[in-house]
Amino acid sequence: MSAAMAAEPLVVEQLALAFGGVRVLQDIALELRAGEITGLIGPNGAGKTSFFNCLTGLYAPQQGRIRLGGLQLERVPPAGRAALGFSRSFQHVALCPELSVVENVMIGLDRQSRAGWLDAFLPLPRGRAERAANRERALAALSRVGLAEVADRSPTELPPGVLRLTEIARAIVGAPRVLLLDEPAAGLNSVETRDLADALKRLRAPELVLVVVEHDMDLIMEVCDTIHVLNVGRLLASGTPAAVRANPEVVRVYLGDDDD
């Protein structure tokens, strides 16, 4: 992948999504730049997760365009977008309880793996080598979020904060071009949130479009370069953390006054 191609932004134009008569997103137009951490905030029901689902292809918007550089994405299915380098974590933890933590993370490498059906059933050298390499990469991703010591534990034994970090490790293990994190700090205590903020800053890379949906304003204001605010499916404001914090409309509908 060339550096020029890698640094291309994710551009959304006039996006609209509705379920029956309910308009979930209307006229969303924004540019998510590589090399930045972009925050997406707004009250519950503002459409943040639906916006993520449109970006990854789980939802098909009725209107609008999504472009990664020069590539139109509307007709690309979720698996195809994963192959292009889209990766995400989920608002509700979506790990498999039958797999260990490190195995859950290894699924983030599935689209890059080449082991076939013979490798699956027989202990052939190529499949074993790939599995060992994938495990090493998964362990490295777990180390980046501070979870190396729970690699072989079952998700059923671990607290919610650890599971969220495991999801982030799964999302970053495949070196994505577009990384979408949906409320990564939900369920984390203050120490874990501090570690998460440090981990997010370390994830910042010139070729990576990194978008974070989050309700923890301290975290968002600390790590983000640009923030977009959604309210009832519309884009309310965009700008730097300082500009968004100073926007009276944003304060009114979401942030609230300090006196409140």
């Binding site: 990854t56 789980l58 299915p77 979720p78 698996a79 994963a82 192959a83 889209f86 990766s87 995400r88 989920f90 979506a94 790990l95 498999c96 309880p97 039958e98 797999l99 260990s100 195995e103 859950n104 290894m106 699924i107 983030g108 490498l109 599935d110 689209r111 793996s113 082991a115 059906w117 490798d119 699956a120 059933f121 027989l122 202990p123 499949g127 790939e130 599995r131 994938n134 072989d152 079952s154 799964r170 495949g174």
Partner: protein, 323 residues
């Protein structure tokens, strides 16, 4: 948990695993030497029991990896059984040559069923599989020159020359069961297995990482059908005959019952328990006359409720989901 406590727990778990392994190895050894002490009746019955255990594994595989219930695995077992019998009848080749072909035929039939039904799930898929199981005997009767019609076909050829027929009928299904479990154990570590397990529990997450639902369904059905066909092929070999009566809707239902009794286990022990329930329970109850269905139902309830009352660790080991 402190590091010391963690290490102690890991050591205890390791000792537990070693204990189970020794027990498993001893059990397998006992099965391998059993024909030296047991009579022909028992070796014949246990041979059928091992073949049934393989067919039960096919149902459990689909439940564990696909999250779906199939009532058509008797059809895939029939595909394997008739492949062995037809290859013997028309080409004069024994089980060793036809067994791989039976697995391929089963997988292709599984794919042929899975593709049009790939968007069905839950009760709708189960009902579709019932339709397949109901149609099978009629299809077999429709081509009597190939399938032998009502009478069916015989499987007479030796697979291993020099070994007595009775021992072949015992050891080949046993080896088949051990081989299928070993292959499934290896499969559990593969990227395909991890993808199937994730898509079963969280389809949208799996799709976001490039795993396609249709791929998952086709893979599960084809692999499950191939395992069922291997079970059917060995069942045909062990019982020396195949006929439409051997593969009715009830066959598929009893395979599902066996799978439930085995707690959907993918281990030798679990599937053997399921196979033994299918094969031995009717024999044990044979003298009870009209009471057979009632006693069979009571035995089924006793097994399911009894096993569910076992400690979690034992159940996890029996179900083959312990790490």
């Amino acid at each position: 948990m402190t590091a010391a406590a963690g290490a102690a727990a890991a050591e205890a778990a390791g000792a537990g695993r070693r204990g189970w392994r020794w027990l498993g190895a001893a059990g397998l050894l006992a099965l391998f030497v059993l024909p030296l002490v047991a009579g022909g009746y028992w070796t014949f019955t246990l041979g059928l029991c091992f073949a049934n255990a393989i067919a039960i594994l096919s149902v459990s595989f689909l439940v564990r990896y696909g999250g779906e219930v199939s009532i058509a695995n008797g059809v895939f077992a029939a595909a394997g059984a008739y492949t062995v019998a037809i290859v013997e009848k028309f080409f004069g080749l024994s089980l060793l040559a036809s067994l791989p072909l039976a697995a391929v035929v089963g997988a292709l039939l599984g794919l042929a069923f899975a593709y049009p039904s790939r968007n069905l799930s839950g009760i709708y898929l189960s009902v579709a599989t019932i339709a397949l199981a109901l149609a099978l005997p009629e299809v077999l009767l429709h081509f009597p020159r190939v399938t032998g019609g009502f009478e069916g076909l015989y499987v007479k050829l030796d697979a291993v020359p020099g070994l007595s027929k009775g021992l072949q009928r015992y050891y080949l299904p046993l080896l088949g069961l051990v081989a299928v479990v070993a292959l499934l154990s290896q499969f559990r570590r593969s990227r395909q297995a991890m993808a199937l397990l994730l898509i079963r529990t969280s389809a949208h997450a799996a799709e976001s990482f490039g795993v396609r639902r249709s791929w998952a369904r086709l893979s599960c059905m084809a692999l499950g059908a191939a395992i069922a066909a291997i079970g059917g092929a060995l069942l045909a070999f062990s019982s020396s005959t195949v006929s439409p009566n051997s593969f009715t809707l009830w066959t598929s239902i009893f395979l599902l019952v066996g799978s439930v009794v085995s707690l959907y286990s993918l281990t030798v022990l679990g599937s053997f328990v399921g196979g033994a329930f299918l094969t031995l329970m009717p024999l044990l109850l044979a003298g009870a006359g009209d009471w057979v269905p009632i006693l069979y139902g009571a035995a089924l309830l006793a097994v399911v409720l009894g096993v569910n009352a076992l400690p979690e660790g034992w159940r996890a080991r029996l179900e083959g989901r312990a790490q």
